[in-house]
């Protein structure tokens, strides 16, 4: 509950996302706009999920007891569904916008769908991570003792790592999802939805952070590898990139290598 915890957890949770933003998105105004629109779509999906949960609670008259826990679980699952629905809607919007931009500006290259997939995934991820973690983070600046009632003293650290993995997962899901929509591979969409449900469901066993976090990270690594191959990477290009021999493979606007 000191500044060290605050800054440490903040950078654990948001460091990679900030780095991705600074190096890939902040330079291009159009990408920033698409990122913010993506964040907005996630926000609207959250609004609808909260509305659903709120209505469910009012219907059951706010009785305390196990029913509240079940309602919460239902709320979480419905929220995941609504998020993926809004991801699909964002895909549709981007498709229309791309076509519009192309018809008006035939010479100027509009951002490709893959890039938009990455940007939208990052938008969803950043908004999701921020909403999940920022209140906890601001509480960590104040006085208090963590785990005084027998909870885990690693509460902040675990939340930070969980937030990080959620952000990265959203990025990968975005890439896979959009690619599935482009190639009409509906199985990809289904897998994204199922893994999202799985990750959320894993958090239900929440006091046992170890299993929760480790399995979520494994899922993230798998999703990451899939997204890498979906986005056009290959073992060869990875090797060239790591050995800094990839001049021939770089895109036009990355010739600085």
């Amino acid at each position: 509950m000191t500044a060290a915890v605050f800054f440490g957890c903040a950078f654990i949770a948001f460091g990679p996302a900030l780095a991705l933003y600074i190096f890939t998105i902040a330079t291009e105004p159009l990408r920033v706009i698409f990122l913010i629109i993506g964040a907005f779509f996630w926000l609207v999906s959250l609004l609808f999920s909260s509305l659903f949960w709120f209505m469910a609670r009012t219907i059951t008259d706010n009785k305390d007891g196990p029913i509240q826990k079940y309602l919460l679980i239902l709320g979480v699952l419905v929220s995941v569904l609504i998020q993926e629905m809004f991801r699909f809607m964002y895909y549709k919007l981007l498709k229309k916008a791309s076509e519009g931009l192309k018809s008006i500006n035939p010479d100027e290259t509009a951002p490709s769908m893959r890039l938009l997939a990455y940007v939208s995934g990052l938008g969803f991820g950043i908004m999701s991570g921020v909403f999940a973690f920022v209140n906890t983070l601001s509480d960590s600046l104040g006085p208090g003792t963590v785990g005084i009632h027998g909870d885990s003293p690693q509460f902040f650290l675990n939340s930070a790592f969980m937030t990080l993995v959620i952000i990265l997962l959203h990025v990968f899901w975005g890439i896979i999802f959009f690619d599935g929509c482009e190639k009409k591979k509906w199985s990809a969409l289904l897998v994204v939805l199922l893994t999202h449900l799985l990750v959320s469901a894993l958090t239900f066993i929440s006091p046992h952070y170890g299993i929760n976090l480790v399995s979520t990270y494994i899922i993230m690594v798998l999703m990451g590898i899939w997204a890498f191959f979906v986005a056009g990477g290959s073992c060869r290009s990875l090797k060239f990139c790591l050995l800094c021999q990839d001049k021939d493979f770089l895109l036009f606007n990355q010739r600085s290598r």
């Binding site: 105004p29 159009l30 920033v32 706009i33 913010i36 629109i37 964040a39 907005f40 926000l43 959250l46 609004l47 999920s49 909260s50 509305l51 949960w53 709120f54 919460l72 709320g75 979480v76 929220s79 995941v80 998020q83 931009l101 008006i104 500006n105 100027e108 908004m127 999701s128 921020v130 909403f131 999940a132 920022v134 209140n135 906890t136 601001s138 509460f155 675990n158 939340s159 969980m162 937030t163 959620i166 990750v199 959320s200 958090t203 239900f204 929440s206």
Partner: protein, 482 residues
């Protein structure tokens, strides 16, 4: 007021050359042909001959400053109490809330392409200052307790909200709003009258008075409160020096000449100060109702044929008058194209000394595509004194900054320490701004900048505070992630 500025600045002799290249704006009714429109990027004194006419002003260069200054004048005449000036400032910005667009006389295809090509850049050029202003306001609200304490109300909101019943409170807030809005309407009409009768000195005087008050008095109070919060001692000589330097440089930058970045920074700071004063002195429910009512008024005043702001705009257009830069945030970029032999003697000396600075400061945005839009100069261009500069930038009225920041600041102040509400309002306002600029590109005429953003902001504030917050709190306490 938002308007993208797309001036093509040409020395009068060479307009025909450029017209041949399809680059110069062809004359439009109301725009004198071959007029050298020098746009000053940095703050300029009003005595400049070359105006800051942004070429789209077939539309709208509302001289909101006139409104505001007039109002200030009136209020200053009544009382010198500190919270008056904030009202005058509020009125100031009131007239600023336009979104103007349209380039008079450019060939349509080129204009559309240019609109869309540079549209994203304009949006970001607005996002950054709006975000900065909001960050300053939210940071202050969250740390300095002075601005969330209730210490009285403005004279324009006389009805108290400490009433026993909800209905009474609602009634009081509506009455407060009615009073505030009618004051604003009266001031605007007074301003239109003043402007029609060309009382410029009057207007300038009031503008300077109000900037003085903002830059010195409000800064002093703000600094005092920040020092109190962090328990830092500062002796009076140091304080005097600091405030004096800050205020004096601010006055020079805003009303006269100064580096563009510094002017922008000062405008952001005074908008933040105004917004903080509003957040402090407007009672809760009144603030929300006022925000809603201001958006409606903005919509009506800009779009209705007999709206005062529209009439103001048309009068300004008829006279081809410059817009006072002190109340407009200008994010201009200057690209010197062609045989850019900068010859200071051939132009007004104001513009050029700042060109390198501006080009430097916007180098980082350098899009390689910009120079390619324009052909290399024709061989027929004589003397190497041809200088064609294109200013691409956006101008946003300070009123927009202020009301956006009031909304986000109120969300930060009144929530139960909830950051989610603040962030949701922030994103909503940015999206509203995006949509407004999109509409601007589509309709190409004066549009008010407040309604869409404020509507989104209000919707998201109330829904996040009442629906999302309990959901996220419950999730966070059980450590569930969606």
């Amino acid at each position: 007021m938002i308007f993208p500025s797309r001036d093509f600045k040409v020395l009068s002799g060479f307009s025909s050359d450029l017209e041949a290249r399809g680059v110069l704006c062809s004359p439009e009714p109301g725009t004198p042909q071959g007029r050298a429109m020098l746009t000053f990027m940095a703050s300029d004194s009003e005595e400049e001959v070359c105006d800051e006419r942004t070429s789209l002003m077939s539309a709208e260069s509302p001289p909101p400053r006139c409104c505001q200054e007039a109002r200030q004048g009136l209020e200053d005449g009544e009382n010198a109490a500190q919270w008056r000036s904030q009202d005058s400032e509020e009125d100031l910005d009131d007239a600023d809330r336009y979104v103007c667009s349209g380039v008079p006389g450019q060939p349509l295809g080129l204009e559309e392409e240019l609109t869309l090509k540079y549209g994203a850049k304009h949006v970001i050029m607005l996002f950054v200052p709006v975000t900065l202003c909001m960050i300053v306001v939210v940071a202050t609200i969250k740390s300095v307790r002075f601005y969330t304490e209730k210490n009285g109300q403005l004279i324009y909101t006389p009805f108290t909200e400490d009433t026993p019943s909800v209905g009474q409170r609602l009634l009081n807030s509506v009455l407060n709003t009615l009073i505030m809005i009618s004051v604003i309407v009266a001031m605007t009409i007074f301003l239109v009258v003043l402007y029609k009768y060309r009382c410029y000195k009057f207007i300038h005087g009031w503008l300077i008075m109000s900037s003085l008050m903002l830059l010195f008095l409000f800064t002093y109070i703000y600094l005092g409160e920040v020092l109190k919060t962090y328990n830092v001692a500062m002796d009076y000589p140091t304080l005097f020096l600091t405030v004096w330097n800050f205020g004096a440089v601010g006055m020079v930058c805003i009303h006269w000449k100064g580096p563009l970045v510094l002017q922008q920074a000062y405008l952001i700071m005074i908008s933040a100060l105004m917004a903080l004063v509003f957040i402090k002195y407007l009672p809760e429910w009144s603030a929300w109702v006022i925000l809603g009512a201001i958006s409606v008024y903005d919509l009506v005043a800009v779009l209705c044929p007999k709206g005062p702001l529209r009439m103001l705009v048309e009068t300004a257009q008829e006279r081809n008058e410059p817009i006072f830069p002190a109340l407009i945030y200008s994010s201009a970029m200057v690209w010197t194209v062609g045989m850019a032999k900068l010859d200071p003697s051939s132009q007004g000396a104001l513009q050029l000394p700042y060109d390198p600075e501006m080009e430097d400061s916007y180098d980082s945005f350098g899009e390689p595509s910009y120079p390619e839009v324009f052909e290399p100069p024709l061989p027929g261009s004589p003397e190497g004194e041809l200088e064609e500069e294109e200013e691409r930038g956006v101008k946003l009225g300070l009123g927009d900054f202020i009301f956006y920041s009031v909304l986000v600041g109120k969300a930060a102040a009144t929530g139960s320490g909830d950051w989610n509400t603040t962030l949701a309002c922030f994103v909503a306002i940015l999206i509203g701004l995006c949509l407004t600029l999109l509409l601007l590109a589509v309709f190409k005429k004066a549009l008010p900048a407040l309604p869409i953003s404020i509507t989104f902001g209000l919707i998201f504030y109330f829904s996040t505070d009442n629906l999302v917050r309990p959901f996220m709190d419950t999730l966070a306490s059980h450590q569930l992630y969606i």
